[in-house]
Symmetry: C2
Subunit: 348 residues, 2 copies
């Protein structure tokens, strides 16, 4: 009975490099996993390096308005060696996150059985990083004067607001509850140096934690956290941190769980006023782009996060189980992007 099917309009931004290769596999998984419950209407957006090199545009007001009407965004990757660093990232990826007020950058790290960690004794790894997504050093507030002279000065300002920090912290405590595991939140910052920003973060932690007596929390400096990620990653349940620390720690975490081939993410607009965006945390990987060998698992797991976002937990779980089973059986085999996608699809 197709008339009762819910329709989800998805903006697809495959983007650059391997983004173009992994995104179709994620779309196929979405359709197959939720086929009975949801009808997906995909709209492709030609955004990224190709378009920028062709006509110099990145993300116009028209693009934003059109994408803004969709229910969610599926993004591949952004970045191209032919374009100066920062242009695509700031003008497209970060612009989307900020324009759609995607406050929570949620990044689970899980070591799937069968996937090889670079650690000798990784133990069980299953935690999630809640990375604040709309402020910090990503705010773009800074400048560069006297370029090219010996007196040049460049600044970057990290912006931290009670509003932004509290959204992230509250989300982290809710998530720790929902996960129902250790029920533990670790705040990461560098309060011994960044006394203003770190102070605000700690103040908000104190305030919010009081409302969650069933959830414990501790604090780690970012430098110490990078140590624990390789010596004792099992200690973590939910990590909450700012935009830049989150960026750095989730890449390290991705490496620890066997490479960012299995690291998905959701950029969540918590009020649902704007679309949320789902993307693998790996980049466009220019070194392997065009070869059809990128692992689409992270993109497919991002599709699962999309389903979970809309409440289709069973369908999301099916994708996660399929990826997990595929990893267990095949992660050491060399397969093409499409082969991996097909193998995972066959399990759905």
């Amino acid at each position: 009975n197709t008339t009762s099917k819910k329709i989800l309009n998805i903006a697809v931004i495959a983007g650059d490099g391997i983004g173009k290769e992994v995104t179709p596999e994620a779309q196929a998984a979405l359709v197959k996993a939720a086929g009975d419950e949801v009808e997906f209407k995909f709209t492709d957006y030609d955004l990224g390096a190709e378009r920028y090199l062709r006509d110099g545009t990145l993300l116009t007001d028209e693009d934003l308005a059109s994408i803004g009407e969709k229910d969610a965004i599926l993004l591949g990757a952004v970045g191209d060696p032919r374009v100066k660093s920062g242009i695509l990232e700031r003008g497209l990826l970060i612009k989307l996150r900020f324009a759609f007020d995607q406050a929570i950058n949620l990044r689970p790290s899980k070591l799937y059985p069968g996937v090889k960690s670079p650690l000798a004794d990784p133990g069980e790894i299953d935690f999630a990083v809640v990375r604040e997504g709309t402020e910090g050093l990503y705010s773009g507030m800074g400048g560069y004067i006297r370029r090219g002279t010996d007196q040049a000065v460049a600044t970057e300002t990290s912006m931290n607001t009670a509003f932004g920090v509290e959204r992230a912290v509250r989300y982290a405590f809710d998530l720790a509850r929902k996960r129902g595991g250790k029920k533990h939140v670790t705040m990461v910052n560098k309060t011994n140096v960044l006394v203003y920003a770190g102070g605000l973060w700690l103040d908000i932690m104190d305030k919010v934690a009081a409302e969650y007596p069933d959830v414990t929390w501790d604090y780690l400096h970012a430098d110490a956290c990078t140590i624990f990620l390789v010596t004792n990653p099992s200690r973590f349940d939910v990590i909450v941190t700012d935009n830049l620390f989150g960026d750095i720690l989730t890449d390290e975490a991705g490496a620890v769980v066997g490479g960012i081939g299995y690291s998905a993410s959701a950029n969540i607009n918590v009020t649902n006023e704007h679309p949320s965006m789902f993307e693998p945390i790996h980049g466009s990987a220019p070194d392997i782009a065009g070869k059809g060998i990128a692992n689409p698992s992270a993109a497919i797991l991002s599709a699962a996060m999309l389903l979970r976002h809309f409440g289709y937990d069973a369908a999301a779980g099916r994708i996660e189980s399929a990826v997990e089973a595929d990893a267990k059986e095949n992660s050491s085999r060399k397969r093409s992007t499409h082969e991996v996608g097909t193998d995972i699809l066959a399990r759905l």
Copy 2:
């Protein structure tokens, strides 16, 4: 013939926690390794948590003036759980680095044979991080308004000057030459987001690299660098980066080479107008402080860096070989701080 002995006046700031336990071992190693060439005059400074808790002072102008007359500083560790995060770090450690214009925070990472890395397949690891030490997000420029309200805002500003960045970059290229290994410099930043600061760093790299045609260089984003540190640390020779990225990456690097028990550092004043400061990169480790079980190897290796700084390469080499031999034979044995110090001393 003692009359020809050079005298070095050393300010000793044992500081907090295990700093007090490891520093005497470093002093003993200094004296024994360079006994024939140098006479050390140590002056102890009572700085750190105890003094702060006793009389509320951190580092007075008199302290600074007195320490500033010494040839070098040997520092243990700073930080105490009884003191609010940031007070001792900013008021003492960072104040020393800034007051004495210690532009270069040099941090070698070497996996000694016999020391166990958490990586399954670490390979050969031997690189050095040149961390800029006097600007970036450590400049303390920021603020916190409307504390305790929903409208609170806190900022931190990263300062980057051509002057400061060029000192660090030039030091890195010189070091790559001097090490005579891969002769390769990797600049780490986050140029795709921090377009102003990253832009300045890249501009300076371009300029300085042109003067070193025999040294190659590449660029890595900080997030990608955390991945390579666990998947392929052998790729690095010299890393040059800003104050905060350097802080984070050297802790991860320390973990990768078997724990920060073997990670030394030098805070170098490049003009020798002010004393340079030598310290293990581990902190005061409140969890094990007072038990006499901290590994003094990093402090002892910092003493070797002090000797090298003053041109006593042979004596420095003797310490390094002694630590290396001790690690190879004993690193898996449980020994007290003083036992390790004594074992190393016996090899000098």
